[in-house]
Amino acid sequence: MSRYTAITPADLDAMLAAIGVASSQELFDRQIPEAVRLRRALELPDGMPEQDVYEHLRELAARNVSAEDELSFLGAGMYDHYVPALIDMLMERSEFLTPYTPYQPEISQGGLQVMFEYQTAISELTALPVANASVYEGPSAVAAAAYLAKLHNGGRRIVASAGLHPHTLQTLRTNAHGFGMEVVEVGLRDGVTDADAWAAALSADAGADVQAPVSAAIFAQPNFYGAVEDAAALAAAAKKEADPVVIAQVDPITLGILRPPGECGVDVAVGEGQSLGNRLDFGGPSFGLFAAREEYLRRMPGRIAGETVDVDGRRGFVLTLQTREQHIRREKATSNICTSQALNALAGVVYLSWLGRRGIVELGELLLARTDYARRTLAALPGVRAAHTQPVIREFALQLDADVAAVRTRCAREGVNPGADLHALSGRDEDRGGLLVAITERRSRADIDRLAQVLGAAVAAERERGSSGETGVPGEAAVTV
């Protein structure tokens, strides 16, 4: 008997008698063929008391350097925004933490109403009329949107900007292979999607190797390099060349100040929701947001909560449009998704209520100002320059005249994580020397000044070492002075 079960010897006797078997072993002997029984103990460590498990988990946690332990400017898809305390309290409530998907709406009105409110908030943020109750996370949400495009128009070509996060592009390719679609990647010019290449990739005669009719045109706003794209121009160009489903991967926390996708001609907006009140959690769980124009409603993946009334006329909420879903439509479903990210989406809508109508604008302006300050300050350091000149809101790419891995190691020794190594993430040659720096409201001017001091010193030291021909640099050799 473990601490989570309750069968005493007396219980066992009574239960076996009621069932009519001599032992619990008999239950298995009579049902599972001997050939596939495991006749040895599992080779796993013995169980432990709660306090020992806690100590073990605490000890493992202590061997990680978290955003609490260093001054971190890591972003590139997940961000160290402040999570208000009331979110912890609400997410820990049994009534939100422990139920299943609300299959019985009469006893799930709380969760269903949260979904309805969440859908309203996402619809408002994106300025698109319909939103689902969330999908897994950001990159797979983009893949799900591409599948929607295929269901919608039957095309097979996905035109994707290189400004999408590398994880998104990789996820898209993995999934597209299964869908029977192909991904055509469009390069960047000065940090944003190359407009000419974009139009060319979407055109009917995109080249001998690209024959498939266009299905989807996808870009990120802001993009992986932090740059604000001309979303309206990209959408308009796509619609001019072909009739694709225009998909934008958005960052919801920028939408207080950034023109929303629904006002830029975008058909489907998806994105990573972690910025909205979710923890870093080493990459998950978080949630993916998914919003669209009305005409795509019946092809959307995932759960959708809808309003209705009960037999006495009371307002209530149910899961709706379920004929799209796997448990009803099976192989004809619009997606195989079953579990959404209800608890994470709860954090999202509570966060948006906490920020409020004014707060989301104020926060956006603060990020904009601090990020600009950080870019100007860092780009003024010797051996450091901005990778592009486009507007940036919460993140920006730098080019270092030094080996990025070595610079990051030097900074780490000073308790500073200066940001993500662009080349390590993208594998693109042009990203060698690239550093992606994220600024959240938790990083003050003093923090940014400290980064400038530490990064400046690290770059200087690496350039010094590069020019004196020293060896032993961790990672790849220092480059181009």
Partner: protein, 518 residues
């Protein structure tokens, strides 16, 4: 519970029923706020210069304007309109609603886990990578398969990973197979996944024992078949005793055998999918391993695979270096990498890994086996109690297996409400709604599809005998009262925050967001 058992049609509404549902968007007032923005501490620059007008939002999104106390009252109020596992019995078949230990929440909330950035350098995330490595090892041992990817985000995502791995396996062998077999008892995610992975679904019939019809399988298994997706025990709660033959037939035509791990809670430490001949297994960390369901996610769906399909696993994988330290293998730079690639951002739902790992370390190997034994014992006990209460007359077991000395099940069982509907005029849906008045979450209803008026009951190992007794008695009571007055069930529930809802109207004229004024 005694007052609940008499709850029926009432004069007037309950306090919760009198509350009209108002969303957060209908609360608050212009100018109210909960958020205090940090001071602008950098030199002021004209914001229009930083972000030109054509990129700017003209009107702010109409988010709520509420104070912090209002937010707390609102969402705590909503929480009271939810039933949950901590409040009562939740025998939802196929969902494994076992207790969620709070230790796991405490451990996952430690800053070293919760505020760890996924791009932290591996050298400085050794605790997290070791945890993932250990979890991979434990899942491998439970599956009886050597390699594990933790990446998939949920069971359905694990299925997609598994079928794409299968596709890559066949493509690498130069074969262009196009069919995937699924039994008619399969979870809906199986056929939906098959379509998303570009394959055609071929359905297999179920025999009178509730297992795969071997003749049908032999007839349909050919060189066009890429994979058979199977749950064992299956969605009838029955272990398919022909599994060895099934595996032989499937492997005989060169296809892979996929194990839907939704029902793993029946067999941990007792029988392993790898030993049954499966090539690919997905786990539901939110079922067997206590990740709380969160009202519909998050989940986590790692997969374990056999040697022959391992080269195609999604990336990244956690690996151990020769010096004993841990790293992430992204499959790049290996000329021979045959990985299907990524299925999502970063490394998977780490927060779920922490909880599942805490559970595995709490129970240990013997404890996990005990958990499965207790789950099967509880299910059989509840089945026996229902039989004792003369429930079987109206709710017979869907596939009673003859010749084994009395019908048994694994960790769940499926009843048919067909006789109840015919003889009492009470549908399975009515029974489910009436159970709400008795303070129970109903079992899964109308699944699997091949059972008339199906009721699928999974008590799990963490329930006491007293709870199982109370549920059996409530079911018997409902049937007795239905024999006298079927309307009592037909119009149920009476005590819930809202009563039966009009789902048809909701789907016909969808209203899926609040309508807002300026």
């Amino acid at each position: 519970m005694s007052d609940m058992t008499t709850a029926g049609p009432r004069e007037g509404a309950t306090p919760l029923q009198r509350e009209r549902a108002r969303t957060i968007f209908q609360k608050g007032a212009p100018g109210r706020r909960a958020f205090t923005c940090p001071q602008l501490d950098v030199p002021a620059v004209d914001a229009k210069e930083l972000l030109p007008a054509r990129f700017r939002r003209e009107r702010p999104p109409r988010l709520p304007e509420v104070s912090e106390p209002e937010i707390v009252r609102h969402y705590v109020g909503l929480s009271k309109r939810n039933f949950d596992l901590d409040s009562g019995f939740y025998p939802l078949g196929s969902c494994t609603m076992k207790h969620n230990p709070r230790l796991h929440e405490r451990a996952a909330a430690l800053a070293g886990h919760a505020r760890l950035h996924p791009l932290q350098d591996p050298e400085r995330a050794q605790g997290a990578l070791e945890l993932m490595w250990n979890l991979q090892g434990a899942l491998s041992e439970l599956a009886g398969l050597p390699y594990v990817s933790l990446q998939p985000s949920a069971g359905s995502h694990g299925e997609l990973a598994g079928v794409l791995v299968t596709r890559a396996f066949h493509e690498q062998a130069g074969e262009n197979r196009h069919k995937v077999l699924t039994p008619d008892t399969a979870h809906g995610t199986n056929p939906a996944t098959v379509t998303m992975a570009g394959y055609e679904v071929v359905k297999l019939a179920t025999n009178s024992d509730g297992g795969i019809d071997l003749e049908d399988l032999r007839a349909k298994a050919d060189r066009d078949v890429a994979c058979l997706m199977l749950t064992n025990p299956n969605t009838l709660g029955l272990f398919d005793a022909n599994i060895v033959q099934i595996a032989e037939i499937v492997h005989g035509v060169g296809a892979t055998l996929y194990y839907d791990g939704a029902n793993l809670n029946a067999v941990m430490g007792l029988s392993r999918p790898g030993d049954m001949g499966f090539d690919i297994v997905h786990f539901n960390l939110h079922k067997s391993f206590t990740q709380p369901h969160g009202g519909g996610g998050p989940g986590s769906g790692p997969i374990a695979v056999s040697e022959r399909v391992a080269p195609f696993l999604p990336v990244p994988l956690v690996v151990r270096r020769q010096d004993g330290s841990f790293d992430l293998d992204h499959g790049e730079g290996h000329a021979g990498s045959q990985s299907i690639g990524r299925l999502r951002g970063f490394h998977g739902n780490y927060g779920c890994f922490v909880r599942a790992y805490a559970y595995i370390r709490s129970l240990g190997g013997d404890g996990l086996k005990d958990a499965s034994e207790a789950a099967v014992l509880n299910a059989n006990y509840l089945l026996a109690r229902l039989r004792e209460q003369d429930v079987a007359q109206y709710l017979p077991l869907a596939y009673p297996r003859a010749g084994t000395g009395g019908p048994l099940c694994m960790h769940e069982f499926v009843l048919s409400g067909g006789p109840m509907k015919r003889e009492l005029g009470v549908k399975t849906l009515d029974l489910a709604k009436r159970l709400l008045d008795f303070g129970f979450h109903p079992p899964t209803v109308y699944f699997p599809l091949l059972v008339d008026e199906a009721l699928m009951v999974e008590p799990t190992e963490t329930e006491t005998r007293e709870t199982l007794d109370a549920f059996a008695e409530a079911t018997a009571t409902i049937l007795r009262e239905a024999a006298e007055d079927p309307q009592l069930a037909q119009n149920a529930p009476y005590t819930t925050p809202v009563r039966r809802l009009d789902e048809v109207a909701a789907a016909k004229h969808p209203v899926i967001r609040e309508v807002l004024d300026q």
